[in-house]
């Protein structure tokens, strides 16, 4: 019984978002960044503007890793800037997942 609990804990801990030694993400701040600052070019409803449509359906053919990469490095030749200086890779990954999961 206790072994099952221990195993379960191990699985949950490993699968959980918080790895040992990592600080939790400020998801409220990230959500606001998506709404307000991505929204500057992509619209508050993410329907697009100067930048393209970022709604979940429009992005569904992208892998989350590729989206995170685009956020971090920008798209040369377009107005999409690299955000690497302003966020961590974990934060970019969170935003990519958020864009794919949130209508």
């Amino acid at each position: 019984m206790s072994r099952t609990v221990a195993a379960l804990c191990l699985i949950l801990c490993a699968a959980g978002p918080l790895q040992a030694g990592e600080t939790p993400l400020d998801t409220a701040a990230l959500e606001r960044l998506v709404l307000q600052d991505c929204g500057s070019c992509h619209g508050l409803t993410r329907k697009g503007g100067l930048g393209p449509d970022l709604r979940a359906e429009a992005l569904s053919h992208w892998a989350p890793e590729d989206l995170a990469q685009m956020i971090l490095d920008g798209l040369p030749g377009t107005a999409m800037p690299p955000w690497r200086a302003l966020m961590t890779e974990r934060e970019a990954a969170w935003i990519a997942d958020y864009l794919l999961a949130t209508e």
Partner: protein, 388 residues
Amino acid sequence: MVRPIASTLLFLTLLFAFWFNQALASEPRSTAGLGVVIERATGAVLIVDRSTHTVLDQVEGFGDLSHASVVFSDDGRYAFVFGRDGGLTKLDLLTGQIVGRVIQSGNAIGGAISDDGTLVAVANYEPGGVRIFDADTLEHVASFDTGAKTIGLVDVPGRRFAFTMWDSGETWLVDMNQPDPEPLIIAGMGENPYDALITGDGRTYIAGLFGEDGLSLLDLWEAEPTPRRILPGYGRGEEPLPVYKMPHLEGWALAGDRFALPAVGRHEVLWLDSRSFEEVGRTATHGQPVFAVARPGGRQVWVNFAHPLNDTIQVLDTATGDVIHSFQPGPAILHMEFAPRGNEVWVSVRDAGKVLIYDTETFALTGEIAAESPSGIFFTARAHRIGL
């Protein structure tokens, strides 16, 4: 004989009572001291009284107001609000009622009103082009399909409009006095124009370029204006910084004998001679400028900055180009609007949920109003300015 007199008296008494009630219900009011504040995240608009620093009304139902802008009817009574979602909404500032609304495209960027106040034009990203509406009824009057993201729409004297395409670098001039207007198409404005302005005298149209260092200028007094490049290569080959927010050229104004304008991808304000359009100086700033707006009269230029350095305002002295005041009103400063004669400036501080009001001589805080994610602030004095 008696009866007609009695009924006339009764009628006059009733008329007086009606008038008296009306007068009590609403003092006559002028709109010259009013303005609107965009509440970006909630799709609402505040009607504000500039002289008393108060909110008169909050009106909802404007749709997606990211990147919203406003022009005013010639009599200053109505605000035309342009939403990101293609909505064009007409708001009565005296009653606080929305009196007209059309969704005229899928994705819009801004608008303008003709010099005679009869036509409202909207620039669209999707589908790209400009649509023109009757200012009274919001009925559709004309469409110009450009097939490209359309920016920098301004009113030009003579019932004309000018606008420019991000993708193709063309500027189109349309003369709405013609029954079936054919646009005059001017090619070669440059790589990815991101915004444009018309000078306050209605003569010079200037487009800022994202895709190259420089700006493009048209003299609209010429019968067939041709683009002239100004400040070519102002970055001098340096790699530009990532641009987290495009600068805005609207509000860019003549300050003395110089223009101040935001550099793209650089922490600089550039100064131009207002006659030759040659560079006469630069000011190193706190961050990448978004707005560089001259205080009416041109004595100072106030500058706000792009994310993530957007908690700061710097005030530049026009004569010397020096930064004479730097302060931090709060997180995410999006817009600054001056009182028409420049004594005060209203500043929207989005993430503090406030509009702060400052005295432009002493820089003292003189007022504050609460607003939900405020962005653009627009005073009715714009009704009587070319290009606003």
